[in-house]
């Protein structure tokens, strides 16, 4: 990655390990981070949702040739809303629908908000990956 991520986007905490690097950023810096990565020609690999016992976490994994850059965003339990990124990365659609289905995260602006992989008859139960 030619320009370093830290000076372009205000980050809370950064850690590097081998080929991977993790950037913990606030929710409202997400858009600038995505714009930066888009210019770098990063390819969205996948999006991971995690229930970290006291808050929800969403990790965006971007791949640039050999390295993987992960952007981590925290979401409070009571307001789990996150803007969609399908306008920049079309492939994110399926991964965001998985967030909706498995973790009950409310992705705003997604064109097709159906839950992922849950049989329709069971969509009213609590999302399976929540540590209830």
């Amino acid at each position: 990655m030619n320009r370093s991520f830290e000076d372009a986007v205000p980050t809370i905490e950064v850690s590097h390990k081998g080929l991977n690097s993790y950037y913990h950023i606030a929710l409202d810096d997400l858009d600038t981070a995505l714009a930066f990565l888009n210019e770098e020609g990063a390819r969205l690999s996948t999006i991971t949702g995690k229930d970290a016992r006291d808050h929800l976490e969403v990790l965006y994994h971007f791949a640039i040739w050999g390295e993987i850059h992960t952007i981590i965003v925290d979401l409070p339990y009571d307001k789990p809303d996150i803007p969609t990124i399908t306008n920049r990365f079309v492939a994110a659609l399926l991964y965001e629908r998985e967030l909706i289905g498995l973790l009950g995260i409310n992705v705003t602006g997604i064109p097709d908000a159906r839950p992922l992989e849950l049989p329709p008859k069971y969509t009213d139960t609590t999302p399976p990956l929540r540590r209830v």
């Binding site: 390990k17 081998g18 080929l19 991977n20 993790y22 390819r43 969205l44 690999s45 996948t46 991971t48 995690k50 970290a52 990790l59 994994h61 791949a63 040739w65 050999g66 993987i68 992960t70 399908t86 990365f89 079309v90 492939a91 659609l93 399926l94 991964y95 629908r97 998985e98 289905g101 498995l102 064109p111 097709d112 159906r114 839950p115 992922l116 992989e117 849950l118 049989p119 329709p120 969509t123 399976p128 990956l129």
Partner: protein
């Protein structure tokens, strides 16, 4: 564009799946057909979802390897290989060189048997059963090789945290080399059969093509992307296991139609056979497993090249006996958006050959993918294609 939407389901709808001879696993494609031409395709998967990710969090550390191995029967080595490498990355365990080589041997043998399986199924889809019979007869030799090395044809169970369980004896390496030289000639015959004898080439020309921009935009991976000219091969990019010692170059073709997919996969078949022979010849000495005391809390994300493309594992541990979170993104899930433009405009007769040429593996994918619920609003192919979303 608007008028087309009104009329969109007036035509004949052909449901293929969830249990259909053309598809190995349950997936449901609903094709809207005008005469013989497909004008809209709608996919619905999720029949294979076995709640693996939650089970991974409920099972103790050492048992998860066996669960991860049973995500997909065809690529039953790539998933645990990736998982084990993530845990070793977190705990900074240095795996001995011989274990790395043995892991790469299994990975490449798996690619050989998976691509041969694909060639057979491609023949089966267009009704050319002789190709299916021939390739699956040759493929039995690879399954015997697996059985000799690890004792079982499908679930080898050779990966553990810190190394490999089954060693490769001197005699085994010698007989494996002879089998591989035979497979080399068989691969040439299969290439000739697929591209010349069976009319896959003649029926597949220009069918189900995917342009390079679409492939990159829709995030295609593996042979599916390489057939459209995207030179990305995780073995070259990430150099995991023993791939660092070999300089592979990705096999690519141009226009991403059925013939291009065949070219890429058959070239990869030959490449894997060559690579496995190299691995067997200069297999280093030394131990095959390293002890580890306990796994510290930490996280790691990494990629391996499954026969169908780039497979990503994200693993996070919290120092206890259980994993904090395991996330698996299979190659076929990344390829699904790129399947849709392939089906548009094709004929009914081409549906199975296109479905086969993509070589979807929904067992890998289904741990986490798409369900259509009551509301009929779905992302139709046109919207995906037009990128309006």
């Amino acid at each position: 564009m608007a008028d087309v939407n009104e009329r969109r389901f007036a035509n004949l709808k052909i449901p293929i799946g969830p249990s259909h001879p053309a598809l190995e696993e349950p997936a449901r494609f609903l094709f809207e057909v005008e005469g013989e031409k497909v004008i809209d395709v709608d996919y619905e998967i999720g029949y294979n979802h076995r709640s693996i990710e939650r089970l991974c969090q409920e099972r103790p550390l050492s048992k998860v390897v066996y669960l991860v191995e049973r995500i997909c029967g065809i690529c039953s080595h790539t998933h645990p290989l990736n998982h084990v490498e993530r845990v070793e990355d977190i705990a900074d365990i240095e795996v001995p060189a011989r274990a790395k080589y043995i892991r790469t041997i299994y990975a490449e043998l798996e690619r050989i048997h998976s691509h041969m399986l694909w060639a057979g199924i491609a023949g089966h889809e267009i009704g050319y059963y002789t190709l299916f019979m021939y390739t699956w007869r040759e493929r039995e030799k690879v399954m015997d090789l697996f059985e000799m090395l690890s004792g079982s044809r499908i679930m080898h169970g050779c990966n553990t945290i810190g190394g490999v369980k089954w060693n490769v004896a001197e005699k085994q390496a010698k007989s494996a080399l002879s089998v591989l030289t035979y497979l080399d000639t068989a691969a040439d015959k299969i290439t000739k059969a697929v591209l010349k004898d069976s009319n896959i080439a003649e029926r597949g020309k220009g069918v189900g093509s995917l342009s390079r921009e679409d492939a990159v935009r829709l995030g295609a991976v593996g042979p599916n992307a390489r057939a459209s000219g995207v030179p990305e091969d995780t073995r070259v990019m990430c150099k995991y296991a023993a791939y660092g010692d070999f300089d592979l170059e990705p096999q690519t073709a141009k226009d991403g139609d059925v013939v291009a997919q065949a070219l890429v996969r058959l070239a990869e078949l030959k490449q894997s056979i060559w690579l496995t022979k190299e691995l067997f010849t200069n297999l280093p000495e030394g131990p095959i497993q390293v002890e580890y005391d306990e796994i510290p809390p930490g996280r790691s994300v990494g990629r391996t090249e499954a026969p169908r493309g780039e497979l990503i594992h994200y693993t996070e541990t919290n120092g206890t006996r259980f994993f904090e979170r395991i996330k698996i993104r299979a190659p076929t899930l990344a390829n699904i958006p790129s399947y849709v433009p392939k089906f548009l405009g094709c004929q009914i007769a081409d549906i199975p050959i296109i479905a086969a040429s993509i070589d979807p593996c929904f067992s890998c994918t289904d741990r986490m993918t798409v369900i259509k619920d009551g509301k009929r609003k779905i992302v139709s192919a046109r919207e995906l294609k037009a990128g309006r979303i």
